[in-house]
């Protein structure tokens, strides 16, 4: 399969801070890749390198067979602006025209706005839109130039469930027509719903790069859920949360955890041991990594 974007042993420093540390990654045509990582893991730096905003300190970055710094290469990509920075005084239609002027093969304005449910807003100034509407405009802009590869950074942050589903449909439709997507999200549900391949980054390195199922299985963590008050210190707990009166514990070794729990004599009820979600797998991978450092 054709590689649309490639990072080869890329290192990027900001002064003393090492944001990326020997990262190699290929994005192939037709893929939908989820990029996961906590804040400061290097996700934004990686995307900034692919879209030509920054250069690597060492290593190579290729975009559509050339340098991302070459504007001609960027004809084939689409990027979402941060919705907080959209020019307040311009109308939605004017912004679409402005971005469209950069792309000879652009999508017709009416069609693009229609696809993202923005037709009614064409005459509205950006400053007057709600956060969710701005977000939809920002995502629509990424698709203006009929890109081969889109970079979607937090595409549905701040949207309600309904709007999020609509946007997911749009992204899926693009993917089904052969489009390639690199997506970051805080919502792991979003990555699970859209991406086939997940790349987990932490501390500037690629910690895992596989299918959603494989990443989940790879770490072999389980979720132990129970109702109890005042739990004692338990071994191998990677994370815990309290939901609707139930305590959820994420662990690599559920058997030992249960043994220790029983041994401690703490009263509990409603014990469940389940396979994890991607979120829990992600937590496990990044916290394991943290333990080494």
């Amino acid at each position: 399969m054709t590689v649309l974007a490639r990072a080869g042993d890329v290192t990027r420093r900001y002064g003393d801070v090492l944001a990326l540390d020997g990262v190699s990654l290929d994005i192939r045509a037709g893929e939908m890749v989820g990029l996961l990582g906590p804040n400061g893991a290097g996700k934004s730096t990686l995307i900034n390198l692919f879209v030509g905003l920054r250069r690597p300190t060492s290593g190579t970055v290729e975009l559509l067979g050339g340098s991302p710094q070459d504007p001609a290469r960027r004809l084939g990509i689409g990027v979402t602006p941060q919705e907080t920075g959209l020019p307040e005084t311009l109308r939605v239609g004017e912004i679409v025209d402005f971005v469209g002027a950069h792309f000879p093969k652009r999508v017709e304005k009416g069609e693009l706005l229609e696809r993202f449910g923005l037709s009614d807003l064409i005459k509205r100034q950006m400053g007057g839109l709600s956060g969710g509407q701005k977000r939809r405009v920002a995502v629509a802009l990424a698709f203006t130039g009929r890109p081969r590869l889109v970079f979607l950074d937090e595409p549905t942050t701040g949207l309600d469930v309904e709007a999020r589903r609509t946007l997911w449909e749009g992204i899926r439709a693009f993917h089904e027509e052969g489009g390639t997507v690199l997506l970051t999200s805080h919502y792991l549900e979003e990555i699970e719903a859209l991406a086939k391949r997940v790349v987990v980054v932490g501390h500037g390195r690629v910690l895992a790069d596989d299918t959603v199922d494989a990443v989940r299985a790879m770490v072999g963590v389980r979720r132990v859920s129970l109702v109890a008050e005042n739990l004692p210190e338990l071994p191998g707990v990677l994370g815990s949360e309290l939901v609707d009166g139930r305590t959820n514990l994420v662990t690599t070794d559920p058997d030992r955890l249960v043994v220790e729990l029983v041994r401690s004599g703490t009263p509990f009820s409603g014990l469940e041991v389940r396979p994890t979600t991607l979120e829990e797998a992600f937590l496990a991978i990044t916290s394991k990594e943290g333990a080494h450092v």
Binding site: G52, L53, A72, P81, P87, T89, L90, F98, A101, F103
Partner: protein
């Protein structure tokens, strides 16, 4: 390429027209000065009134070039939108050119009120040819002040730009003889005046619209200032890109 320059120019012009206070600020002060000082004191003398109209029109265009431009540039640099635009398939040229061209458009708009006051309420006169050449000179001599504005805007934060651009603007305008005609400037100012950029611009404007003989030292000094400002502005632009986007 030209369609990209047009797109960027239109973007900036729309942005500025939607918040007309910036243009008004550049346009109203000189127009009010015309009404308050030129109309009562020099309105009956064609030569003095024409010269004063030219000076105050340049005052307006200089304010839009130096103050307004530096402020929008420095504010833009702090917006994430600026980062997004850099990911679009275009080099830095269309944006830079759009900035300059939209600057010209705003400049022309900001001199209209002074021009109207001069034409309607004073004896200031100019043939259509003089007026046209005068406007061309006004735009061309605005370039060094745009470059100074770009230098300030690309070097400083939005907050600092607000103060620094004003601090540069008023002394330059006064030293250049835009508010008070050079003949009645105090002696020590008249010594410095020809070496400051606004004086050269004013000399050229007076020369093409009245029978004033231009001070060559001031014109040469303006040319030197233009080169210095161009070097400084492009240095600041590259430094800004290099610092934030290396």
């Amino acid at each position: 390429m030209s369609s990209l320059v047009a797109a960027h120019t239109r973007f900036f012009v729309i942005e500025q027209l939607r918040v007309p206070i910036g243009i008004l600020a550049s346009a109203l002060f000189p127009a009010i000065s015309m009404l308050a000082f030129v109309v009562p004191f020099a309105g009956d003398d064609p030569q003095a009134a024409t010269q004063a109209t030219g000076s105050l029109m340049f005052f307006g265009s200089m304010s839009s070039a130096l103050i307004s431009l530096s402020i929008v540039v420095s504010q833009d640099r702090e917006q994430p939108w600026n980062t997004y635009v850099r990911t679009l398939p275009a080099g830095p040229f269309p944006r830079f050119a759009g900035r300059i061209l939209s600057g010209f458009a705003v400049m022309v708009l900001s001199v209209i009120p002074s021009l109207l006051v001069g034409a309607l309420f004073t004896e200031a006169t100019a043939t259509p040819a003089q007026l046209l050449i005068g406007l061309v000179v006004l735009i061309v001599t605005g370039i060094p002040f745009m470059l100074i504005g770009l230098f300030v805007g690309f070097t400083l934060s939005a907050r600092a730009t607000l103060a620094v651009s004003q601090l540069l603007f008023f002394p330059l305008a006064i030293l250049g003889g835009l508010l008070i005609p050079p003949q009645i400037l105090p002696g020590f100012i008249e010594v410095v005046s020809p070496f400051t950029p606004a004086r050269g611009a004013a000399e050229l404007l007076w020369w093409v619209t009245t029978d004033h003989a231009p001070d060559l030292v001031a014109v040469i000094a303006l040319a030197v200032w233009t080169v210095v400002a161009a070097v400084a502005a492009s240095w600041a632009y590259r430094r800004d890109e290099g610092r934030r986007f290396k």
